[in-house]
Symmetry: C2
Subunit: 333 residues, 2 copies
């Protein structure tokens, strides 16, 4: 008889991460395959199914529930991927229905920021806290709220859209239509844009110009390398980035007073150069919530957070359905 597992699937812009977990919470298999998003949603779906079938065959297991994660925007209630930047031509793609039909088990669906938050909460930097606010800073900026082990989704699953909180009412218009969203300043894409704009107005002697092939090649990493060498343009960009991140994160703390803020995403790879000034500035900005009791932490799972979260979603989905799935009670559903 095949053993029961939960499956986690995290669809990223370039890779799909998959994992299987047994009732004891052990990963019995994990894999990463190319997304091939440019070949359309049907191809991505067949990539998922092929990888999953191989993993199930190799481990002699069968899934009882699937946690499925996609970049946003998604429609959780209807199980649709709407039109993520990273997944072109996915307009309202009914991914949940298709995976459920193929596998015949419940599929729990959520966006990447929410799944990563859940992963960090149970297995990463967020372990041991009751309530956390999760922030991801990469190409864009996202957020998620976990209260007592459960994602707080809000109405229409709209909570946690932290990248679109206004931190500069006099700022530029965001792609979302709002003026001065945090994302227009502090996302990886906008760190690069602001650097380009400042370089265009500078004397052209910035170190950044030597570090990258051209203005379109500017990355957060290049900016940060120039900051470490005391380049004035890079330092100005970076100080502004930290300043506005601290406004946004400070505001979230002032409203939520979570036990911890866990910050993940590509931009956090710079480490102390981000976290040291950010922590100081947040402390300056928060004078009402008890900031001394609130930890500001770097996410610790890296690109694993999403698939770990997906596995947790599958497990929580079974719990909500009243299905026992633990080490002492292996079930075939």
């Amino acid at each position: 008889m095949k053993k029961s597992v939960t499956a986690g699937i995290d669809i990223g812009g370039t890779k799909i991460a998959l994992a299987l977990e047994n009732p004891a919470g052990e990963r019995v298999a994990s894999r990463r395959v190319p997304t091939q998003a440019d070949l359309g949603p049907d191809r991505v779906l067949s990539n998922i199914h092929r990888a999953l079938e191989e993993m199930l065959a190799e481990t002699q297991t069968e899934p009882v529930a699937v946690g499925l994660v996609s970049p946003g925007p998604i429609d959780i209630e209807r199980g649709l991927v709407l039109s993520p930047t990273n997944l072109p031509n996915w307009d309202e793609f009914p991914i949940v229905e298709l995976v459920e039909k193929k596998l015949g088990v419940p599929v729990i669906f959520d966006n990447d920021a929410n799944a990563a938050a859940l992963g960090e909460y149970f297995e990463g930097a967020g372990r041991g806290f009751r309530d956390i606010f999760y922030v991801t800073i990469s190409t864009g900026i996202g957020g998620a709220i976990i209260l007592d082990g459960q994602l707080y989704h809000g109405v229409g699953a709209g909570a946690g859209e932290f990248g679109h909180s206004i931190v500069d009412p006099d700022g530029i218009i965001c792609g979302c239509g709002t003026r001065g969203c945090l994302e227009t300043i502090a996302s990886g894409r906008n760190i690069a844009r602001r650097t380009r704009e400042k370089l265009a107005r500078s004397d052209g002697n910035s170190l950044i110009c030597q570090l990258v092939a051209g203005p379109d090649e500017i990355t957060t990493q290049a900016v940060v390398e120039a900051v470490r060498a005391n380049d004035p343009v890079a330092t100005e960009v970076w100080n502004e980035t930290v300043f506005y991140l601290a406004v946004g994160i400070g505001n979230a703390i002032t409203i939520l007073a979570p036990e911890a803020v866990v910050i993940g995403g590509g931009v956090t790879a710079v480490g102390d150069l981000l976290f040291e000034p950010l922590g100081k500035q947040i402390t300056k900005n928060v004078n009402n919530a008890p900031i001394e009791k609130i930890k500001i932490l770097k996410a610790s799972l890296g690109s694993q957070s999403g698939v770990f979260g997906a596995l947790r979603m599958a497990r929580q989905g079974l719990q909500k359905r009243g299905v026992h799935f633990d080490a002492n009670r292996i079930i075939g559903v």
Copy 2:
């Protein structure tokens, strides 16, 4: 035999509101007495006890739990009133211990914004929603979060300090030490301050000068009356007020996506002149949370919200202790 009731006590800057509720949820008595805050905490405490004793004697009841509400800042865990502006010389006053000793029943303690939110949630504008964000705009600005009928307190009971979220990073320093808090712009006190400052720079022909005796007498009501008469200075002050309130409330919605935002406090007495432009501006500011599903509502209980919330706190406190207190089971604890 005396019948059991819960008692609600809401200590305000000028009045104390008290009420008794029977197990069926009916108010069997309510009263308002002067706080006499200037005579010190002991006098306030004896005012509370005298009024309560009279109410209990008249109704032939005895309390099984008390919900007690004070202006902030308070220390919920230790049951202390710290140093509210409205209650001078209350530094770390151990009110919970003293009331518990006197009455011999559990006292559930919270601040005025949290209690008002709870009142509005169960009996006012917030009825029927699952999660609400409550905002109070009066002398200061406060906030509270209610999720599924329970106050969300956050770590150190620090959640909901909405008045101190940053809406203008280039603004003035708040009393709390942070630059650009919403309260520095949109509280009643700061609406008056900004009006005074703008009048000092104007030609002195503003209608406001005719409506009040002097600069120190400026009120939100006077500003609003001048707005209705198209006074330019008043209109500028009011438009800014609405603009920044919409930034702050919009940000809270973007993070929380509550089903409703309920707005109370003295400044809301102006009605449509606030709510119409505020609703439009919030809709402009929120492009990610599903704003069309989120109601922006005026609080409906007025000065009753706090004492109604206090009664609910008492009831929830009994529930948490596993005590049954309902219409079918009258108990003497």
